[in-house]
């Protein structure tokens, strides 16, 4: 999977980044006191929801089935018209504008892609640009560009029909189609629900890569909490009637769940899930003494003792680690060989701490070698680094985040009010409901 990750700008992975990173092409969205009542139903499907969705972020809507998360999503592009309240996209009230015009400016991805079976891949992708009146040459160029973006060879796939594609490929084309007219907002309704687990992981990684490049505002409905933790900058956990139980970063939801409902929803293993939130690149790793094949072992040993390290990393001519030798092993050697050690504990720098810890536990060393692009050696990570990172993220989680977007039900909306107060209001409301 690591070969899919080509970009190396690690900082945008961090959810606590600055509020306006450069390159954001997304728009912020505001649901203002939105209520949806379906005819013939006693209780509203969405009840007085106020929610701010920051530009350029991935917001995951999760909750049990029938909680109103999909209704909430479909109210953003007004596939479902809200009964009350306002929808504001990029500062413009879109509640009363022409729904079709609004939807042409918002990407929409559904489960299994929702491709039209009687149209080729290229026609499917080109639908929205065509509606927007692009000329043919521009549409063709855009289709090819998008197919490249979702890792499909345009020459091979352009003229295929959806039934000639695998489930994962259909889903990719679905994403490409949603991105066709370069919309600022992408809505995804359980996008990866219909593909097998391995394909799902790949598609998730690719979505993260695409998002790193494009920085759209993505609102994604899922019932899979792990997916929410993996993809989300922010996670909104809904209870029945789209009651917002907690709206926060994955770190804080895992480290500091707002109430019992959220705790139950997270399920067991919150600590381990936290490990999947941090990547090796973000925790910093230590340097190591480096040697190369052909060197005299004694020279490397001398450098090792100088630096006070226990192990030396041997790299090949392209700086890829091939051996990891202890002082004792070096002492026994005359000249360092160029035979790669197949059991070398190596993790990519984009791997999660979860993967890194797993590698360390399997190897006896209690540490792992970190490699960067083209498998080049970058440094060493050990168990202590991982432990420190966990402690740090737990401490950070308890601290209030002043950048948390607003999200609450049936309350007064204060754009300027401190998040703490709003969070209290939200959880008070939840408690009140729980006690009823």
């Amino acid at each position: 999977m690591s070969e899919l990750i080509t970009s190396n700008s690690g900082e945008s992975m961090s959810t606590e980044g600055s509020t306006t990173p450069t390159g954001i092409t997304g728009a912020n969205i505001l649901l203002d006191h939105v209520t949806k009542r379906f005819p013939g139903q006693a209780r509203p499907a969405v009840d007085g929801l106020t929610m701010e969705i920051p530009a350029g972020k991935i917001v995951m809507l999760v909750g049990p089935s029938g909680c109103g998360k999909t209704t909430t999503l479909k109210m953003i592009n007004r596939l479902i018209e809200p009964s009350e309240g306002r929808i504001v996209v990029d500062g413009d009230d879109v509640t009363n504008m022409n729904g079709d015009t609004l939807r042409r400016g918002i990407g929409y991805v559904i489960q299994a892609g929702g491709l039209f079976p009687h149209m080729t891949v290229a026609t499917n992708i080109g639908l929205v640009p065509k509606m927007l009146g692009w000329d043919k040459a521009r549409i063709t160029a855009r289709v090819d560009e998008l197919l490249e973006l979702v890792s499909l060879d345009p020459a091979l796939y352009r003229n295929r029909y959806p039934k000639e594609l695998s489930g994962g490929q259909q889903q990719r084309v679905g994403v490409a189609r949603a991105l066709a007219a370069d919309p600022p907002v992408l809505l995804m309704d359980e996008p990866f629900g219909a593909v097998d687990p391995i394909t799902r992981l790949r598609l998730q990684d690719e979505l993260l890569n695409i998002q790193e490049e494009l920085q759209k505002t993505i609102v994604c409905v899922t019932h899979d909490f792990d997916e929410a933790v993996k993809l989300g900058d922010w996670i909104a956990i809904f209870n029945e009637g789209a009651q917002l139980e907690q709206y926060d970063t994955p770190e804080r939801i895992l480290g500091d769940p707002a109430n019992e409902f959220v705790e139950n929803f997270i399920g067991s293993g919150a600590g381990l899930k936290q490990l999947t939130l941090t990547r090796v690149a973000e925790v910093g790793f230590s340097d190591a003494v480096v040697g190369s094949p052909g060197e005299r072992a004694a020279d490397v040993l001398a450098r090792l003792i100088d630096a006070g390290h226990g192990h030396a990393v041997i790299v090949d001519e392209r700086h890829r680690p091939i051996q990891w030798l202890s002082r004792r092993q070096l002492g026994r050697l005359e000249v360092i060989s160029n035979v790669p050690d197949p059991k070398l504990p190596v993790v990519g720098y984009r791997a999660t701490l979860n993967d890194a810890l797993d590698t360390m536990l399997v190897s006896s060393a209690g540490a792992a070698l970190v490699t960067g692009r083209r498998d080049m050696f970058k440094g060493v990570i050990d168990v202590q680094t991982v432990m420190d990172a966990i402690t740090r993220s737990q401490t950070a989680a308890v601290l209030e985040s002043d950048q948390a977007p607003v999200g609450l039900n049936t309350g007064v909306f204060h754009a300027q009010a401190p998040a703490a107060e709003l969070n209290e209001t939200a959880s008070d409301g939840a408690d009140a409901r729980a006690s009823q």
Partner: protein, 278 residues
Amino acid sequence: MSTRALTAEAGIAGGDSAVETPGDPAAPAVPASQARAVWQSWRGLVYQLAGILLAFAALVIWLLTTNLSAVELTTLAPAALWIYTVEHIQLTLLAAAIVLVIAIPLGIALTRRPLRFLTAPVLAIANVGQAAPAIGVVVLLAFWVGFGFWAATLSLVLYAVLPVLRNTMVGLQQVDARLIEAGRGMGMSSTAVLFRVELPLAVPVMLSGVRTALVLLVGTAALATFVNGGGLGILITTGVNLSLTPVLVTGALLVALLALLIDWIGRVVEHVARPKGL
């Protein structure tokens, strides 16, 4: 006589059943097998046409070699037969055109949101109406609107509207709701979704309804003669009334062959018009 009719039937039946199997040609990757797949998908149609032509040839040979009485010879004069056939086809096509103009828009309208509540009751009525005997409809209507070509056309329309209406509605209903939602979700208007997504995906079912209607019409048009509507039915009634077996058989066979020919044309159209990728 009966043996010939049977062979004709068998040839036709063979052609007919072969049509069903290659309905869904697998998408071949290799050009060599592509040609075979094309042949596979057309094979049934070729057999059906061959069967029809063979049966027709057999009928002609039989008529030329049998001893026919003077009355039979006049009734079965090629010019007369041609006029009956043309009348029959006119009746059928006119009724079919009217049916399409009525049933397809009606079927679309009945599956749109404001009228959707009517879909189920109308389908139920359509299914019941289909079971009503055609002769009853024809004669009852004749008493009401009078006899002649237009009375015959009206009853034919009433009878054939049902399969087209039903298949239009069923075809539109079976379009995956998620595809409609995907269309609306990307900003297509409901009209655009109807014409670019729903109707193309409903085409196979709709066309098969049209074909059924046409075949029904060819058969039912033989009854038009009871209300003085013309067509090949006159041969059958004459044959029965005057005990002229060759006339009766010729009339029946011509109607049957015409129905099969229309069915064949319908299948060819379905085959060609089926959207790619389905």
